[in-house]
């Protein structure tokens, strides 16, 4: 099983990298971009075959180290 963890700065926490990308897109005349948020994706290959257990485990990882929940939100997708 593979877990995909997406990590983004929380809404309301200014994202300077997203902002810089937005400016660059504007400068390149890509119109119609309302907002850009930049995050990171961590892909974990798991030995577990139990989805519930795997989800619990990865949630713990996200809380403990993968994300800094003071400033970041995360989503987990199991595939």
């Amino acid at each position: 099983m593979t877990a995909i963890v997406n990590i983004f700065l929380k809404q309301g926490v200014l994202d300077p990298q997203g902002k810089a990308i937005h400016h660059a897109l504007d400068a390149m005349n890509f119109e119609g971009v309302e907002d850009v948020r930049m995050g990171k994706q961590i892909v974990l290959k798991l030995t577990s075959t139990n989805r519930d257990e795997a989800m619990k485990e990865v949630e713990q990882m996200a809380e403990d180290i993968l994300a800094n929940t003071v400033i970041e939100d995360y989503t987990i997708e199991l595939v």
């Binding site: 200014l14 300077p16 003071v70 400033i71």
Partner: protein, 224 residues
């Protein structure tokens, strides 16, 4: 003689400057490798120095918080021991939860390396006891992730408990935006006022001939 334990992670690069600084101030020092599980018994102060522990992978300071020596530092701090985090050390102390808030990428995305004026916000703590309130200090900064974030509620708590140590300011002590930090915060301490963190480098401001010796009165407070 006070004994200072200076931590060393893979990627730390201010350990020897920090050691030099405290030896210049008359202390004995030891550099403690991150795999150690205990601090020297006579430790009076732990310094988590600047650098790029673990290459800043994941987030600055994120991996270092799980080094064996950090468990010993947490215990030391919880017993009231004094801990100072400088730059990457500040990032590590927020990641490990000894200090509130977090440090994000600078607002302009650039690595900023220059002398910066700071104003002393509170001196009701050991670290800044030798500095005057509102005094302007000239201390170098060198960081890419110094943009301090804390939510409104957390900020109010910092202010109420006199936990804000220094703010970035101009020569007239007016706060300025340097890296996007909430209300120009450059350094804070915990509620118990025994754990301190700041982005500027007092250990690089020890001699006037090199630009400033304002770092001396900062560091002296911790060993007084």
């Amino acid at each position: 003689m006070k004994h200072i334990a200076v931590l060393q992670f893979p990627g730390t690069n201010c350990d020897l400057d920090t050691k030099y600084a405290f030896e210049k101030l008359g202390c004995s020092t030891s550099v403690v490798w991150h795999k150690e599980t205990a601090l020297p018994e006579n430790t009076d102060l732990v310094v988590v120095p600047g650098g790029f522990s673990y290459g800043d992978y994941l987030r600055s300071g994120a991996i270092a918080q799980f080094s064996p020596v950090m468990q010993a530092v947490i215990e030391f701090a919880n017993k009231g021991g004094k801990v100072l985090g400088i730059c990457n050390g500040f990032q590590i102390l927020t990641e490990v939860g000894l200090l509130p808030g977090a440090l994000k990428r600078n607002i302009g995305l650039h690595f900023i390396s220059k002398f910066q004026t700071l104003t002393v916000v509170n001196n009701s703590n050991k670290f800044l006891q030798k500095c005057e309130k509102n005094e302007v200090l000239n201390i170098p900064i060198a960081h890419a992730d110094g943009n301090y974030y804390i939510d409104e509620e957390g900020y109010n708590e910092l202010e109420a408990n006199e936990q804000i140590l220094v703010r970035y300011c101009d020569e007239k002590a007016q706060a300025v935006v340097v890296n996007g930090s909430v209300r120009s915060i450059a350094g804070i301490c915990n509620k118990n006022k025994n754990v301190f963190g700041l982005m500027p480098h007092p250990e690089r401001a020890l001699e006037n001939i090199l630009g400033s010796d304002d770092g001396i009165k900062m560091l002296e407070g911790l060993i007084a």
